[in-house]
Symmetry: C2
Subunit: 498 residues, 2 copies
């Protein structure tokens, strides 16, 4: 697999690996420090498997105190650190450094408390997303954000990437569902950020921590909000002749004031791939389908289902199905949830992008993606969170065909730039990592990038935490050649700057 | 009126006022620069009128460019700047400096765009909160956050204080309803923060700007979310024999999974004051009343109203009334909305506090407030956002009675410390300003305060923007003598630090 260098990421230090290992063993059990190539291999990449790199060392602390001591030691020696949860991230945010410590948080995996009266759970960072809902289930509660990887991904990683999921249209992203985090800074200081209320005094550092991709600190504990399980749920499946029609239907549903718990779109390529894989009963001739989930009280769901059905029909649906019960509802979703692996069967490799656009430009941007797909000669499947305008184009390529990955990445980059040009952003929920770092130069001007660097320096002045990720240097943007050249086209550029 | 010095606020500079005035007149019209004592008098305080101070100069720019030039000039000369909206803030966040420029944003008051398809409004900072909803009304849309001062307060001030309101239980605070801000930093750089999606790439600087009390930058434009007006609304008024019972009823409503648009409590003192003032028809014998508002579709509201009524009755309500129509609903709310001025008729002066607590500790903290009230010999009325645990105790005092204000402030401080001890925070929506700056030493440890200062320095390294507000220096906390002495009692202290 390819390994592309990222200019700003290497923080040189003169530490001898064996001496450093000895220092680690002074406060860490044998099995918490990995240094042999065969042990490190497991950690050479995250979900963005096109990029791999063996870490210098991997450390798996069992206590917060060990993590703190580790950070102090690295800080004192100028050794860079990359934190990692389950490694399911799709943007390469947890790609290791060949001269840095990979801080793996998987052993900090205890649920510390479930508080049904305050509807919160206090958990360690290595707790899996789904495990929180499982622990809360006896109290009729659950944790709302549900990324596709929820069976494996951890809350620490969710916080680092501000993860969303199918239901974030109604229930928000991680930032809307975490009340408090305890975070170690690079010098080993433990910060308690946020509290019990909607708002807290002082600057909103918890929000700053969410989605900071492990560059400001290492989260070692989180208190998350739990929600009562809605008493009733209904899912509608609507088929349309074209993606464009389905796009307009999404706008119609939202304009009517409905806030579905989820509103997902799949194009024909995804429908057929999925149907062949899990037999969800999808209409394989449809140009696109929408899955629309409504939840709440019985009365509310009944009323809203009827309204949604009317709206979808008026928007030109060739067919609208209501799930006849829990079993069929799960089948409807089984298709959507297995869409990525299903699509994976059609192509040796695929590359999942993640951009957002204003909902009203959905049809237009889908058209642009189809054009780009033809131009590059690579097929693109679209399966995405239509309700919040969060696209997930899946670009098909073959890693064994020379140049194909480069082409896929170039196409992906151009899709993201089309999102920005439509007034959107280059990531909805996957983060920037190493994958979209060049597109950050398109998204932001130098003033914003400089401000990002200043904020980073306020937490980690030496730049030892996850260097080279998420925020490009101005030099890198100059090299990429994109900064500020789009002029009036871009919403985040100097447009309207008087 | 008293004027207490705040140790860290004075940023000395050697600028001659007349020379500086001449520089201002080079780019500002005559009527945009106030320098005569009689003109400056209007700006000597904000809503925390116990503290007054004449600004050195007040500048009211008419364009963003003028504001930018002003900041560059102040930055170059080391002149501190305090930004001000309508001056309705209750914590003294906009108290001027006697050697600094007061940057009054009231002339930047244009609504730049209403976009019904994307459901957003783009506005200048001096636009009044209610004016946004008025402009959006023809499209069936409104702006959700509704502080009591919404007829006068501006969106710029709302962003600075992350304002809430009666409906923030369901619709969130300002941070949940603003998509993008354009902000000038102290050196005149214009930053565009946030975008169109739920999440954006890079650190969450828009969230950081919300509630930063004018200390990180000056907001010159905001794009806010608009919501469709709910088709149906119903309000219930429930009377209880005691505040404690009403507190338990609040917990019961929330535990049942209902999310009212508003859930407000008034104690007997507030009920009687209000009734004498606006004749809302409140039961004057009740120990406490709850106002519970439900909104949504007709079917949903009808079903939820019935559930709420049952729950309130089961919780021991002596009476539950449903508003018979829009007119009665407005009367129910007229009482709540005029509670502050109504209470003001009972006492020459009152001091409005703002703390949050976990809902389940409501009854206990109200009991503690009653105790403290007796101990200090000052009456306290409670009118507040019960649903989100946001207390607003109103402390009665007489500014003309020597020592009374000091006593009221001391009592207020102790109430806030009781909130912190119960796992809450010292401000729910009013901000810290100068009022609660000592209590910040109780809320946070030195690690968090140092991190706040580092973040401040990332935006404003010379500390010229609103110095002396919101974030205390460590020296100040040492002087206040509270830092870290509460040990295990405080949720934000070193408790659980291994």
């Amino acid at each position: 697999m390819a390994h592309r260098p990222h200019p700003s990421e290497r923080v040189p230090h003169g530490c001898d690996r064996d001496l450093f290992l000895a220092e680690l063993h002074a406060f860490l059990p044998e099995n918490c420090v990995l240094h042999r190539q065969e042990d490190l291999r497991v950690y050479e990449c995250d979900g963005l498997s096109a990029y791999t790199r063996l870490p210098w060392l991997a450390v798996l602390p069992e206590t917060v105190e060990q993590a703190q001591t580790l950070l102090r030691l690295c800080h004192a020696n100028g050794v860079p650190v990359v934190a990692r949860g389950a490694g399911t991230g799709l943007a390469g945010g947890a790609l290791p450094l060949d001269n840095g410590v990979l801080l793996v948080l998987s052993k900090l995996n205890r649920i510390l408390a479930i508080d049904p009266a305050n509807r919160t759970a206090r958990v360690q960072p290595g707790v899996r997303n789904l495990a929180i809902s499982e622990a809360a289930a006896p109290f009729g509660l659950y944790y709302a954000p549900d990324p596709s990887s929820q069976i494996a991904c951890t809350i620490g990683g969710n916080i680092a990437e501000n993860s969303g999921g199918v239901h974030c249209l109604k229930y928000g992203l991680t930032v809307h569902n975490v009340q408090q985090v305890k975070m170690l800074t690079m010098d080993g200081e433990l910060l308690t950020l946020g509290g019990s209320g909607l708002d807290g005094p002082g600057y909103d550092l918890p929000a700053l921590a969410m989605g900071s991709e492990g560059m400001l600190g290492v989260v070692v504990e989180a208190t998350v909000r739990l929600l009562p399980k809605p008493p009733a749920v209904q899912t509608l499946l609507a088929a349309f002749a074209s993606e464009e029609q389905a796009g307009h239907a999404v706008a119609a549903v939202i304009s009517a004031g409905l806030i579905p718990a989820g509103l997902e779109m799949m194009d024909n390529l995804s429908i057929r791939a999925t149907e062949a894989f899990v037999h969800a009963g999808y209409p394989v001739e449809a140009g696109a389908i929408l899955l629309c989930e409504l939840d709440g009280t019985e009365e509310q769901v009944a009323a809203e289902t009827e309204r949604a059905r009317r709206i979808l029909q008026q928007a030109g649906a060739t067919e609208v199905r209501l799930a006849a019960g829990a079993e069929q509802r799960q089948r409807f979703w089984a298709g959507r949830k297995s869409a990525f692996p299903a699509v994976g069967r059609l192509s040796p490799d695929y590359y999942c992008m993640d951009g957002t656009i204003p909902r009203k430009r959905l049809a237009e941007v889908l058209g642009r993606i189809a054009e780009l797909s033809k131009q590059f000669g690579l097929r693109v499947a679209n399966v995405f969170h239509a309700g919040d305008g969060n696209l997930h184009p899946l670009i098909f390529y073959d890693a064994n065909r020379p140049g194909d990955l480069d082409k896929a990445e170039d196409l992906g980059g151009q899709i993201l730039e089309a999102c920005v040009a439509a007034g959107g952003t280059i990531t909805g929920e996957h983060g920037v990592g190493i994958e979209k770092i060049n597109q950050m130069c398109v998204q932001f001007g130098s003033a914003e990038l400089e401000q990002f660097h200043a904020v980073k320096a306020a937490f980690d002045p030496q730049g030892l935490l996850n260097p080279g990720k998420a925020i490009p240097t101005l030099a890198r943007c100059a090299e990429f050649g994109r900064m500020h050249i789009h002029g009036g086209e871009l919403p985040h550029s100097d447009l309207e700057r008087f």
